[in-house]
């Protein structure tokens, strides 16, 4: 393996991190929205949210990315592989994070919410200032775990032509007829990414321990 090989595998990490990050940034708020929908027990949309989450959570990443990339043109929308990959990650993240948000919301101390009601707080303020900051803190470990799993499912985007770490490593191996060393380099890159995520979790948890007063 020469320097260019190392570089091309490293370049794969741009795709891995970029697509996963977009997926998280879009998917997490979406998942929260779904969770709130189900928590507030709004009819019809609650059942649809449940079905959506149930189907996506059991769907392999490979199948989902091919459904979105190849299926979208049939619905009249043409997607680039990059956009299709990002949408897939966002959809996956929304479904998984919905469950995590939901369990945090369900274990949320109802009394605090009632106190906010008693003080006449409007609905939005109740959710934004009382419920969410605490739900965020208790969801954090689960969300980081989900992000890790999202990164581990990211090799699926290779089937629609995105060159991420695993595909890049496999291509180098195909060229040099020595497949294992580039795979090892790929492994190191994944370890770095996952390690960084775990550190981030530690940092976020620590900063969460000294919350600013709400007012």
């Amino acid at each position: 393996m020469n320097a260019y090989d190392y570089w091309s595998i490293f370049q794969g990490s741009f795709a891995t991190v970029g697509v996963s990050l977009t997926g998280i940034l879009v998917g997490l708020p979406l998942g929260l929205g779904l969770a709130l929908l189900r928590w507030a027990r709004i009819p019809v949309s609650r059942q649809i949210a449940y079905l959506y989450v149930s189907i996506i959570r059991s769907c392999p990443a490979v199948t989902l990315v091919m459904l979105i990339y190849f299926g979208a043109p049939q619905l009249g929308v043409s997607l680039s592989p990059l956009v299709a990959a990002m949408i897939t990650m966002a959809v996956t993240a929304s479904a998984f994070s919905c469950e995590i948000w939901r369990s945090a919301l369900l274990s949320f101390d109802r009394q605090q919410y009632d106190a906010a009601l008693a003080f006449g707080m409007p609905r939005f303020t109740r959710v934004w200032r009382i419920v969410l900051p605490q739900v965020w803190r208790s969801s954090l470990p689960g969300l980081i775990n989900e992000t890790t799993m999202l990164v581990k499912s990211s090799p699926a985007i290779a089937v629609i032509g995105m060159v991420e770490i695993t595909r890049a490593a496999q291509r180098v191996g195909a060229r040099t007829y020595d497949p294992l060393p580039p795979l090892m380099v790929g492994l190191v890159l994944y370890v770095v990414i996952i390690f960084a995520l775990v550190r981030l979790q530690g940092r976020l948890e620590r900063s969460g321990k000294n919350p600013e007063p709400a007012i």
Binding site: P60, T63, L67, Q74
Partner: protein, 220 residues
């Protein structure tokens, strides 16, 4: 995006059935064997002999750090270098088993640690030790505690099985891809696949709920 497309997809039912059956077999074998391997690995993880517990921990943690497809490539390319020639299908099964057994062992170990110390101590006080203690006291309690996580891991195996199409194993997603490429009906094909995967996971969920209910009355 009409119903005709779906009908066209399902007219290919011989291929779909074969691929679906194959996927079910992959999941069934990988799920059961990885569970057994996980049960076997857990006492090794808890072993007081440092060499044993350390090496098994390294194995489990490295599986946790890497994507399944990367591991598949390692087995797929690595075994021939070591002189072992396996079919793609066998390679896929081996990868599924080794990868998921590590995850099983990790949360089974957590479930073991959750068992109240007194319960295990009573086993010792009443003359149970070694394999007998594990088989009669620890293992049942560990498995019942971990039932939801085991169910979850089975669903993970279902999803990982789709990656095996990349190394040319006949499974559901690859078969649907072949159909959609032939007839230009991607949406109907892949949506059918998604629904079939959903069906499998609903069945897994059903059994998990069953086992959880069995376990509920048998908890501390």
């Amino acid at each position: 995006m009409s119903l005709d497309n779906f009908i066209l997809v399902w007219q290919q039912y011989p291929e779909i059935l074969e691929a679906f059956g194959n996927t079910l077999m992959l999941i069934g074998i990988a799920g059961s064997v990885s569970m057994l391997l996980g049960i076997f690995l857990t006492p090794l993880l808890m072993s007081r002999r440092k060499a044993v517990s350390l090496s098994v921990t390294v194995y489990c943690e490295s599986m946790r750090c890497m994507p399944f497809l990367l591991f598949v490539y390692m087995i797929y390319f690595g075994l021939p270098s070591a002189g072992i020639q396996l079919s793609n299908w066998t390679t896929g099964v081996v990868a599924l088993i080794l990868y998921n057994a590590a995850y099983m062992a990790i949360f089974l170990k957590g479930a073991w640690k959750d068992i109240p110390t007194e319960t295990i101590e009573a086993g010792r006080a009443y003359g149970f030790h070694g394999l007998k203690l594990f088989r009669r006291v620890i293992m049942p309690l560990m498995l019942m505690r971990a039932t939801p996580m085991i169910g979850n891991q089975w669903v993970q195996i279902v999803k990982d099985s789709a990656f095996l199409g990349i190394i040319a194993v006949t499974e559901l997603t690859a078969a649907m891809n072949a159909i959609q490429a032939t007839y230009f009906i991607p949406f109907a094909s892949f949506l059918s696949a998604v629904l079939l995967y959903w069906l499998i996971s609903l069945v897994i969920e059903f059994f998990t709920t069953l086992f959880t209910r069995y376990a509920e009355v048998r908890r501390t």
